[in-house]
Amino acid sequence: MSYKTAVIGDMDTTTGMALAGATHTHVHVKRDETLAKLNEFLTSDEIGLILVTHRVAEELGFEFRQMMRTKRLLPLVLRIPDKTGYVPKVDELQETIKRTVGAEIVVKKEGG
Protein backbone atom coordinates (compact mmCIF):
# COMPACT_ATOMS: atom_id res chain seq x y z
CA MET A 1 0.00 0.00 0.00
CA SER A 2 1.12 3.56 -0.66
CA TYR A 3 1.79 5.88 2.21
CA LYS A 4 2.90 9.44 2.74
CA THR A 5 5.58 10.91 5.00
CA ALA A 6 5.27 13.36 7.87
CA VAL A 7 7.94 15.42 9.62
CA ILE A 8 8.06 17.08 13.02
CA GLY A 9 10.98 19.32 13.81
CA ASP A 10 12.33 22.79 13.47
CA MET A 11 12.00 25.12 10.53
CA ASP A 12 15.08 23.85 8.71
CA THR A 13 14.15 20.20 9.00
CA THR A 14 10.57 20.65 7.91
CA THR A 15 11.50 22.92 5.03
CA GLY A 16 14.15 20.57 3.72
CA MET A 17 11.94 17.52 3.99
CA ALA A 18 9.04 19.31 2.37
CA LEU A 19 11.26 20.11 -0.59
CA ALA A 20 12.09 16.42 -0.80
CA GLY A 21 8.48 15.32 -0.81
CA ALA A 22 7.20 15.06 2.76
CA THR A 23 3.47 15.63 2.74
CA HIS A 24 2.73 16.71 6.30
CA THR A 25 4.98 18.91 8.34
CA HIS A 26 4.79 20.41 11.79
CA VAL A 27 7.17 22.94 13.22
CA HIS A 28 7.51 22.37 16.93
CA VAL A 29 6.69 25.32 19.13
CA LYS A 30 4.55 24.24 22.06
CA ARG A 31 4.63 20.80 23.66
CA ASP A 32 0.88 20.25 23.77
CA GLU A 33 0.38 21.25 20.17
CA THR A 34 3.18 19.02 18.98
CA LEU A 35 1.94 16.03 20.97
CA ALA A 36 -1.50 16.52 19.48
CA LYS A 37 -0.02 16.72 15.99
CA LEU A 38 2.02 13.61 16.60
CA ASN A 39 -1.08 11.78 17.72
CA GLU A 40 -2.86 12.95 14.59
CA PHE A 41 -0.03 11.59 12.45
CA LEU A 42 0.11 8.33 14.38
CA THR A 43 -3.58 7.66 13.91
CA SER A 44 -3.70 8.70 10.28
CA ASP A 45 -4.24 5.87 7.83
CA GLU A 46 -2.37 7.54 5.03
CA ILE A 47 0.93 8.23 6.79
CA GLY A 48 3.52 5.48 6.67
CA LEU A 49 6.56 7.24 8.11
CA ILE A 50 7.01 10.02 10.65
CA LEU A 51 10.36 11.71 11.05
CA VAL A 52 10.92 13.45 14.36
CA THR A 53 14.06 15.28 15.37
CA HIS A 54 15.90 14.01 18.44
CA ARG A 55 15.57 17.38 20.08
CA VAL A 56 11.83 17.46 19.78
CA ALA A 57 11.51 13.83 20.85
CA GLU A 58 13.49 14.60 23.97
CA GLU A 59 11.44 17.67 24.73
CA LEU A 60 8.24 15.67 24.39
CA GLY A 61 9.71 13.34 26.96
CA PHE A 62 7.65 10.70 28.69
CA GLU A 63 4.54 11.07 26.54
CA PHE A 64 6.59 10.52 23.42
CA ARG A 65 8.13 7.33 24.75
CA GLN A 66 4.70 6.20 25.83
CA MET A 67 3.26 6.78 22.37
CA MET A 68 6.14 4.87 20.82
CA ARG A 69 5.53 1.90 23.10
CA THR A 70 1.83 1.73 22.43
CA LYS A 71 1.65 2.61 18.77
CA ARG A 72 0.54 0.28 16.02
CA LEU A 73 2.93 -1.26 13.52
CA LEU A 74 2.40 1.67 11.17
CA PRO A 75 3.32 4.45 10.80
CA LEU A 76 7.01 3.87 11.29
CA VAL A 77 8.70 6.49 13.41
CA LEU A 78 12.31 7.48 12.95
CA ARG A 79 14.25 9.98 15.00
CA ILE A 80 16.72 12.09 13.09
CA PRO A 81 19.21 14.78 13.98
CA ASP A 82 18.40 18.36 13.14
CA LYS A 83 20.87 20.76 11.56
CA THR A 84 22.90 20.91 14.76
CA GLY A 85 23.52 17.22 14.44
CA TYR A 86 22.40 16.60 18.00
CA VAL A 87 22.07 12.94 18.87
CA PRO A 88 21.22 11.83 22.41
CA LYS A 89 23.73 9.86 24.43
CA VAL A 90 21.37 6.99 25.20
CA ASP A 91 20.81 4.90 22.13
CA GLU A 92 17.67 2.81 22.42
CA LEU A 93 19.04 0.19 20.13
CA GLN A 94 22.19 -0.29 22.19
CA GLU A 95 20.06 -0.60 25.29
CA THR A 96 17.86 -3.17 23.59
CA ILE A 97 20.91 -5.14 22.58
CA LYS A 98 22.33 -5.15 26.07
CA ARG A 99 19.03 -6.37 27.36
CA THR A 100 18.32 -9.12 24.92
CA VAL A 101 21.53 -10.17 23.35
CA GLY A 102 24.09 -8.91 25.85
CA ALA A 103 24.56 -12.20 27.61
CA GLU A 104 24.46 -14.05 24.33
CA ILE A 105 27.35 -12.09 22.90
CA VAL A 106 29.60 -12.98 25.80
CA VAL A 107 28.70 -16.64 25.63
CA LYS A 108 29.27 -16.76 21.92
CA LYS A 109 32.69 -15.19 22.19
CA GLU A 110 33.86 -17.75 24.73
CA GLY A 111 32.19 -20.75 23.17
CA GLY A 112 33.22 -19.80 19.67
Binding site: S2, D12, M17, A18, L19, L76, L78, T100, K108
Partner: protein, 212 residues
Amino acid sequence: MATALAVSPTRMELMKLKKQLNLAQRGHDLLKEKMDALVMEFFEIFRKIQESRTKALEQLSTAYRALTNCFALMGTLETVQAARETRRELQIEISSRYLMGISIPAVEFGEIQRNALTRGYGLHMTSSVLDEAAREFERALGLLVELAETEAVAFAIARELEKTKRRVNALEYILIPRLKGALKFIMMRLDEMERENFTRLKRIKAIIEEHR
Protein backbone atom coordinates in the same frame (compact mmCIF):
# COMPACT_ATOMS: atom_id res chain seq x y z
CA MET B 1 10.28 -28.47 42.61
CA ALA B 2 10.53 -32.12 41.70
CA THR B 3 8.65 -32.88 44.83
CA ALA B 4 5.74 -30.79 43.63
CA LEU B 5 5.10 -33.26 40.84
CA ALA B 6 2.79 -35.65 42.60
CA VAL B 7 3.67 -38.87 40.90
CA SER B 8 2.95 -42.34 42.05
CA PRO B 9 6.04 -44.48 41.75
CA THR B 10 4.74 -46.89 39.15
CA ARG B 11 6.19 -48.12 35.90
CA MET B 12 3.36 -46.44 34.01
CA GLU B 13 4.31 -43.11 35.48
CA LEU B 14 7.92 -43.79 34.65
CA MET B 15 7.09 -44.33 31.02
CA LYS B 16 4.89 -41.26 30.88
CA LEU B 17 7.59 -39.13 32.42
CA LYS B 18 10.26 -40.41 30.07
CA LYS B 19 8.04 -39.45 27.16
CA GLN B 20 7.41 -36.03 28.63
CA LEU B 21 11.11 -35.47 29.15
CA ASN B 22 11.84 -36.51 25.61
CA LEU B 23 9.29 -34.03 24.29
CA ALA B 24 10.58 -31.29 26.53
CA GLN B 25 14.08 -31.86 25.24
CA ARG B 26 12.85 -31.79 21.66
CA GLY B 27 11.02 -28.56 22.39
CA HIS B 28 14.17 -27.18 23.93
CA ASP B 29 16.14 -28.06 20.81
CA LEU B 30 13.55 -26.42 18.62
CA LEU B 31 13.61 -23.22 20.62
CA LYS B 32 17.38 -23.17 20.76
CA GLU B 33 17.55 -23.54 17.00
CA LYS B 34 15.07 -20.68 16.68
CA MET B 35 17.08 -18.57 19.06
CA ASP B 36 20.30 -19.25 17.17
CA ALA B 37 18.64 -18.11 13.97
CA LEU B 38 17.18 -15.01 15.64
CA VAL B 39 20.54 -14.03 17.08
CA MET B 40 22.13 -14.40 13.68
CA GLU B 41 19.43 -12.31 12.04
CA PHE B 42 19.81 -9.73 14.76
CA PHE B 43 23.55 -9.38 14.31
CA GLU B 44 23.03 -9.00 10.60
CA ILE B 45 20.37 -6.35 10.94
CA PHE B 46 22.44 -4.56 13.54
CA ARG B 47 25.34 -4.40 11.12
CA LYS B 48 23.00 -3.01 8.48
CA ILE B 49 21.77 -0.35 10.87
CA GLN B 50 25.27 0.87 11.61
CA GLU B 51 25.96 1.20 7.90
CA SER B 52 22.60 2.72 7.18
CA ARG B 53 22.85 5.24 9.98
CA THR B 54 26.28 6.43 8.95
CA LYS B 55 25.24 6.92 5.36
CA ALA B 56 21.96 8.62 6.25
CA LEU B 57 23.46 10.97 8.79
CA GLU B 58 26.22 11.99 6.45
CA GLN B 59 23.75 12.71 3.68
CA LEU B 60 21.50 14.57 6.08
CA SER B 61 24.40 16.83 7.07
CA THR B 62 25.05 17.55 3.43
CA ALA B 63 21.40 18.34 2.91
CA TYR B 64 21.23 20.72 5.85
CA ARG B 65 24.29 22.53 4.53
CA ALA B 66 22.72 22.86 1.12
CA LEU B 67 19.61 24.26 2.73
CA THR B 68 21.56 26.79 4.74
CA ASN B 69 23.17 27.79 1.51
CA CYS B 70 19.79 28.20 -0.05
CA PHE B 71 18.55 30.31 2.83
CA ALA B 72 21.57 32.55 2.46
CA LEU B 73 21.35 33.01 -1.28
CA MET B 74 17.64 32.87 -1.91
CA GLY B 75 16.37 34.15 1.38
CA THR B 76 14.73 32.20 4.15
CA LEU B 77 11.20 33.34 3.44
CA GLU B 78 11.45 32.56 -0.23
CA THR B 79 12.81 29.10 0.48
CA VAL B 80 10.10 28.29 2.97
CA GLN B 81 7.50 29.56 0.57
CA ALA B 82 8.90 27.41 -2.20
CA ALA B 83 8.85 24.39 0.09
CA ARG B 84 5.26 25.06 0.93
CA GLU B 85 4.31 25.22 -2.69
CA THR B 86 6.28 22.25 -3.84
CA ARG B 87 4.32 19.80 -5.85
CA ARG B 88 6.47 16.81 -5.21
CA GLU B 89 5.08 14.23 -2.92
CA LEU B 90 6.86 11.12 -1.87
CA GLN B 91 4.87 7.93 -1.73
CA ILE B 92 6.38 4.97 0.03
CA GLU B 93 5.19 1.44 -0.54
CA ILE B 94 4.84 -0.51 2.68
CA SER B 95 3.81 -4.11 2.74
CA SER B 96 4.41 -6.99 5.08
CA ARG B 97 6.92 -9.78 5.13
CA TYR B 98 7.64 -12.46 7.63
CA LEU B 99 10.63 -13.79 9.47
CA MET B 100 10.11 -16.92 11.56
CA GLY B 101 6.51 -16.04 12.12
CA ILE B 102 7.10 -12.39 13.05
CA SER B 103 5.64 -9.66 10.91
CA ILE B 104 8.07 -7.02 9.68
CA PRO B 105 7.58 -4.14 7.29
CA ALA B 106 8.89 -4.18 3.73
CA VAL B 107 9.39 -0.60 2.57
CA GLU B 108 10.18 0.57 -0.91
CA PHE B 109 10.54 4.01 -2.32
CA GLY B 110 7.48 4.63 -4.37
CA GLU B 111 6.42 7.10 -6.89
CA ILE B 112 7.02 10.75 -6.51
CA GLN B 113 3.83 12.40 -7.52
CA ARG B 114 4.13 15.34 -9.72
CA ASN B 115 1.42 17.81 -10.21
CA ALA B 116 0.42 18.21 -13.82
CA LEU B 117 1.13 21.91 -13.72
CA THR B 118 4.67 22.04 -12.65
CA ARG B 119 7.38 19.85 -11.27
CA GLY B 120 8.87 22.84 -9.60
CA TYR B 121 8.07 25.09 -6.78
CA GLY B 122 4.97 27.04 -7.56
CA LEU B 123 5.32 30.04 -9.79
CA HIS B 124 8.72 31.08 -8.56
CA MET B 125 11.65 30.85 -10.79
CA THR B 126 13.54 27.78 -9.74
CA SER B 127 16.99 28.61 -8.60
CA SER B 128 19.80 26.15 -8.71
CA VAL B 129 20.49 26.34 -4.98
CA LEU B 130 16.90 25.39 -4.34
CA ASP B 131 17.19 22.49 -6.73
CA GLU B 132 20.36 21.36 -5.03
CA ALA B 133 18.83 21.53 -1.55
CA ALA B 134 15.81 19.60 -2.75
CA ARG B 135 17.99 16.99 -4.37
CA GLU B 136 20.15 16.48 -1.29
CA PHE B 137 17.10 16.16 0.93
CA GLU B 138 15.56 13.74 -1.51
CA ARG B 139 18.62 11.57 -1.26
CA ALA B 140 18.59 11.85 2.51
CA LEU B 141 14.94 10.90 2.65
CA GLY B 142 15.61 7.82 0.58
CA LEU B 143 18.29 6.68 3.00
CA LEU B 144 16.13 7.52 6.01
CA VAL B 145 13.25 5.44 4.67
CA GLU B 146 15.66 2.52 4.43
CA LEU B 147 16.91 3.18 7.94
CA ALA B 148 13.38 3.33 9.32
CA GLU B 149 12.63 -0.08 7.90
CA THR B 150 15.85 -1.57 9.22
CA GLU B 151 15.28 -0.20 12.72
CA ALA B 152 11.71 -1.51 12.77
CA VAL B 153 12.97 -4.96 11.85
CA ALA B 154 15.68 -4.82 14.51
CA PHE B 155 13.21 -4.02 17.27
CA ALA B 156 10.82 -6.73 16.11
CA ILE B 157 13.61 -9.30 16.18
CA ALA B 158 14.82 -8.12 19.58
CA ARG B 159 11.35 -8.48 21.04
CA GLU B 160 10.96 -12.02 19.70
CA LEU B 161 14.43 -12.88 20.91
CA GLU B 162 13.51 -11.84 24.43
CA LYS B 163 10.35 -13.94 24.35
CA THR B 164 12.15 -16.97 22.99
CA LYS B 165 14.98 -16.68 25.50
CA ARG B 166 12.45 -16.68 28.32
CA ARG B 167 10.86 -19.86 26.98
CA VAL B 168 14.22 -21.57 26.56
CA ASN B 169 15.09 -20.69 30.14
CA ALA B 170 11.74 -21.92 31.42
CA LEU B 171 12.41 -25.27 29.80
CA GLU B 172 16.05 -25.44 30.77
CA TYR B 173 15.78 -24.27 34.36
CA ILE B 174 12.30 -25.27 35.40
CA LEU B 175 10.49 -27.88 33.40
CA ILE B 176 13.32 -30.20 32.40
CA PRO B 177 14.96 -30.31 35.85
CA ARG B 178 11.50 -30.92 37.33
CA LEU B 179 10.91 -33.84 35.01
CA LYS B 180 14.39 -35.22 35.59
CA GLY B 181 13.90 -34.93 39.32
CA ALA B 182 10.58 -36.72 39.24
CA LEU B 183 12.07 -39.40 37.03
CA LYS B 184 14.94 -39.91 39.41
CA PHE B 185 12.56 -40.07 42.36
CA ILE B 186 10.40 -42.74 40.72
CA MET B 187 13.39 -44.81 39.66
CA MET B 188 14.77 -44.71 43.17
CA ARG B 189 11.46 -45.72 44.68
CA LEU B 190 10.97 -48.51 42.17
CA ASP B 191 14.47 -49.78 42.93
CA GLU B 192 13.75 -49.59 46.63
CA MET B 193 10.48 -51.43 46.27
CA GLU B 194 12.16 -54.10 44.20
CA ARG B 195 14.83 -54.56 46.85
CA GLU B 196 12.20 -54.75 49.55
CA ASN B 197 10.34 -57.33 47.54
CA PHE B 198 13.47 -59.31 46.96
CA THR B 199 14.34 -59.28 50.66
CA ARG B 200 10.80 -60.24 51.54
CA LEU B 201 10.86 -63.13 49.08
CA LYS B 202 14.17 -64.33 50.48
CA ARG B 203 12.76 -64.28 53.98
CA ILE B 204 9.64 -66.12 52.95
CA LYS B 205 11.76 -68.68 51.15
CA ALA B 206 13.89 -69.12 54.26
CA ILE B 207 10.81 -69.65 56.42
CA ILE B 208 9.45 -72.20 53.97
CA GLU B 209 12.77 -74.00 53.98
CA GLU B 210 12.79 -73.98 57.77
CA HIS B 211 9.39 -75.60 57.94
CA ARG B 212 10.29 -78.39 55.57
